[in-house]
Symmetry: C2
């Protein structure tokens, strides 16, 4: 801090970098949520991109643009919370004036040992897993609109998403073929993975979280659960079990024909989160 | 590209990271300059932070926020120009809606061989150098306001600053003790270097670029020349000469007493660029 750039000790393995910008009024409704949530979510969503590659965070930098009078301390509190909880130190930043509050977060990570897990590695016959039931974030937004308090568990899931870093590392160490995080919803994100891998998929099971609708589970974004495909499902389950992580949930199979994209025998349309507030 | 994070091959030496956000109407007057200049300047100012550490760029990510209807292609042209000219590939990005155009650029760099040059290493007796005469950017903004065309050389200096990457590397290899880039103007930036190093300074010479005022040279920002201090001035000059770089200009000496801060025998006030448009 204080120099023109932050200096980091050498990286283990490949270096990862990802950037995310969160804008007040676009990514967070200012009438429903405190400003600190914008800072938290900006950092968490960027860190989740590292989890999706099987990486671990090394550092983040944060560029804030805000109108005069913005409570920067509150914003920073959310940023610092997410940085502490994901073990990702903020090593630099920039602050400038603008009409609207925005937080641009760039995270750097590393992949000690084997290389990163990409979206493009899924192979026919792979089993598809997700790290948890879906829909909590979208349901939390709905419940907040209906008047639920900020500490309602589903509202918290929306406000304070938890990047699946340990799960991503475990999956990489278990040799999964492809992985990504669910930021826009399974209904759109898994098409992206299948596109990148030139494969199709047969989803047999949709794990809907308690209190959520099917639409929220498939079309809602910001769950930040990981979805992964592997030729060695037993190895994946064993790795999660050994590390004391919640068991991933098998939801289907990768197939060769890219035109086959079904959920419980029906074609799965591309539907996802449009950041509607 | 296309994955959640970009993957980079291992770094040589320390890893550097820096972020800068440029906002239309704050960092660039939309009535005076084309939108592509905002993209160019955002990348160039971030890369300049690497130059200031003696680093070389490895990659950048760009987060753009913009209202509907923004000419993103034009913005991207400026980003791509700066990336190409500084040999810093754009490896990822994010795009979101906002009321105002902003470009947040994060650059990563590396320092093969010895470590980075910090602001805090200046020692009494060091000779102070800058890599070129000062004031061109501020003079260019003035001239543009007076009606000068976009291709006026001083206007170009404002629109298209050139990060001093080769000079920063040469200075690091010549063992300079401290370095930074002049983004806010010598009048404020050199105080920052002296503060970080707990030293004073006696500036004997102010190199004013042709067509610029003394005020622009000392108080104008965005020149992005490097200022450095070294105990071995001959070694620095020899290194620049051998590499075919323009000779750095000696402007004064570092002194032990932090309260001594003079320019041509007068106290040098803290004055710098306030991004006034």
């Amino acid at each position: 801090m204080g120099d023109d750039a932050a200096v980091l000790a050498p990286f283990a393995g490949e270096a990862l970098i990802s950037t995310d910008v969160a804008v007040l009024g676009v990514h967070l409704a200012p009438d429903l949520f405190p400003l600190e949530d914008l800072g938290y979510k900006a950092v968490a969503s960027a860190v989740s991109d590292l989890a999706a590659m099987g990486g671990r965070p090394r550092a983040a930098v944060v560029a804030v643009a805000a109108p005069p009078g913005t409570d920067l301390e509150e914003l920073h509190r959310g940023i610092a919370d997410a940085a502490a909880m994901t073990n990702c130190p903020i090593v630099g930043g920039d602050l400038t004036q603008a009409q609207q509050v925005s937080v641009a977060v760039t995270v750097m990570g590393e992949t000690p040992g084997k290389g990163s897990v990409l979206r493009s590695g899924a192979r026919p016959g792979d089993t598809i897993f997700v790290t948890g039931p879906l829909g909590r974030s979208a349901a939390g937004l709905r419940r907040r609109r209906e008047g639920a308090p900020l500490d309602d568990p589903l509202v918290v899931a929306h406000r304070r998403p938890w990047p699946r870093l340990l799960e991503g590392l475990a999956a990489r160490h278990a040799g999964v073929n492809a992985m990504m995080d669910l930021s826009d919803g399974l209904g759109i994100d898994f098409h992206r993975l299948a596109d990148a891998s030139h494969v199709g998929f047969v989803l047999t099971h949709l794990p809907i979280a308690d209190g959520c609708t099917e639409y929220e589970a498939i079309g809602g974004g910001e769950d930040y659960e990981l979805v992964m495909t592997t030729a060695e499902p037993d190895r994946l389950l064993e790795m999660f079990d050994r590390r004391g992580l919640r068991m991933p949930i098998a939801i289907g199979l990768v197939v060769k024909d890219p035109s086959i994209r079904t959920l419980r025998n029906d074609p799965m349309p591309r539907s996802g989160w449009q950041h509607e507030l």
